[in-house]
């Protein structure tokens, strides 16, 4: 049981060949980008969704921030699709691996910081000191702000990893409990219900994508525009 619990998070291998790259690339197949004006239903709905999300997400930024539109939209689509596909049985979710999330978070965060420092050096440096601090507290506060800045990418990555992994683990555990209780006590109907509710809550993993991108967005906003 303990071994099986974490078995779904190991690198997926098929007869000794790691196919994790294929699994990461797979969700892109589900987003067709035809050259037509009038598409099939799938492409139409996806187009509409992307237009909606991008409209709301990029309305906050100025011109410079909106050059990140492609990056942000592909980020949200990727994380959303991989998380949702991970809910299917016997599937592997790449975003459960901290390595991948760090690989996504650190470059993006670093990009925003560097951009902020290049274009608005004084303003970026000024973020290290909140307004109206008493004089003796300044050194300590600067150190604390620096730490909080450097924790941002780690927080982004770990947040995503932890949420998705925890969700998967919970599903696994409760499924296991249901399995065991089926023989003992068919009041497992209740437990199945709990699984169902948990799943719907876990589908808020999609909301987590939004949380991810939103956080990134806010940081971008803060670094660029303020």
């Amino acid at each position: 049981m303990n071994e099986n619990l974490f078995a779904s998070f190991t690198t997926p291998m098929m007869m000794g060949v790691p196919i994790v790259v294929l699994i990461i690339i797979f969700p892109s197949i589900l987003f067709p980008s035809p050259n037509r004006l009038i598409n099939n239903r799938l492409a139409t709905v996806q187009q509409w969704l992307i237009q909606l999300v991008s409209k709301y997400m990029l309305s906050i930024h100025n011109y410079k921030g909106q050059t990140w539109a492609l990056m942000l939209m592909s980020l949200i689509l990727f994380i959303g699709s991989t998380n949702l596909l991970g809910l299917l049985p016997h599937s592997f979710t790449p975003t459960t691996q901290l390595s991948m999330n760090l690989g996504m978070a650190i470059p993006l965060w670093a990009g925003t910081v560097v951009m902020g420092f290049r274009h608005k050096t004084k303003a970026s440096l000024a973020h290290f000191l909140p307004q109206g601090t008493p004089l003796p507290l300044i050194p300590m506060l600067v150190i604390i702000e620096t730490i909080s800045l450097f924790i941002q990418p780690v927080a982004l990555a770990v947040r995503l990893t932890a949420n998705i992994t925890a969700g998967h683990l919970l599903i696994h555990l409760i499924g296991g409990a249901t399995l065991v209780l089926m023989n003992i006590n068919p009041v497992t109907a209740l437990i199945t219900f709990i699984i169902l509710i948990l799943l719907t809550i876990l589908e808020l993993a999609v909301a987590l994508i939004q949380a991810y991108v939103f956080t990134l967005l806010v940081s971008l906003y803060l670094h660029d525009n303020t």
Binding site: N4, N35, I38, R41, P89, H90, I171, I174, G175
Partner: protein, 372 residues
Amino acid sequence: MGHKRLNPARSVSHPPFHLWGCGESDSPESEATRIPLSPTQVRSATPASVWTPAEQKPSLGAAQGSLNSQREPAQQRPLRLEAPSRSAPSKGSTSCQRGRSGRARLHGDRSERRARGPSLDLSSGTRGKAPRLKNAALLGPGVLQATRIFHTGQPSLAPLPPLPEHGGKVRLGLIPEEFFQFLYPKTGVTGPYVLGTGLILYFLSKEIYVITAETFSAISVIGLLVYVVKKYGASIGEFADKLNEQKIAQLEEVKQASIKQIQDAIDTEKSQQALVQKRHYLFDVQRNNIAMALELTYRERLHRVHREVKNRLDYHISVQNMMRRKEQDHMINWVEKHVVQSISAQQEKETIAKCIADLKLLAKKAQAQPVL
């Protein structure tokens, strides 16, 4: 003239290009070199592909014909070819004229020769040389293929084929209908279902598929998915269709607006043209107005002239009248003056006494009368 007569058994390959000189083709030498080609010889000598270009050069209708005409014995070809040419000499013209007529038809002849393909003409032009295929490679099928135009642009610029209206039919949302049709001849209607059930039971019983915790999560996920799709699938499809309809409606509206605008412009133009047609009324009215104004001015001036002249004449008349009156008055005054001057004092007294006596008489008469 015998050598000019039509001889079907003899010369086959008509050399069309050495008819310049008169009588050259009629030398017994050239005639001897004409070798009748049998059809088998002809067919073996040429690859079948060479026959095809005949269709590309239909310059001479009578002589070319189709592929079939080429497969006829070669003897008949010069028949068809030389008949029109020999018709001229049959009227009594010389071979020179035949040469000229041949020269006139040189272009056709040459193309006909080319179309014939294997013109193994051992004619005077190739005296002594080895037989060779003339111009067989010129119009091989290679030319045909080489001049065909392939991709002349980017494939992305080509018009896309239209999308089908409905997707492929599936049963149970997963398995295409073709699978059921595929199994239908052998196992009937229930075949695929029995296969599916059997497979599932086999996997379960042999524990190829193990029931674990994931089974329950799978059941819940798939159950939720099926529920959502069944409940909201149609509405989402309709929503997607509506989005597309809106797109098309927008463009259609633009198109209709453009058409309407152009139609309005056309109608305006037409009405303008119609107005232009009726413009002559305007000009007539203007012309009439001007004529009337001119007439009026003329009459007015005439009247003024008349008045002025009358004034002058009246002046003269009044001057004359006044003169006459003045003269009359003057004369009267003069007469009176002289008459008064002429009356002496005595005459005056006598006149007055007479008048008084008359008056007295009258008074008496008057008194006497009312008494009566």
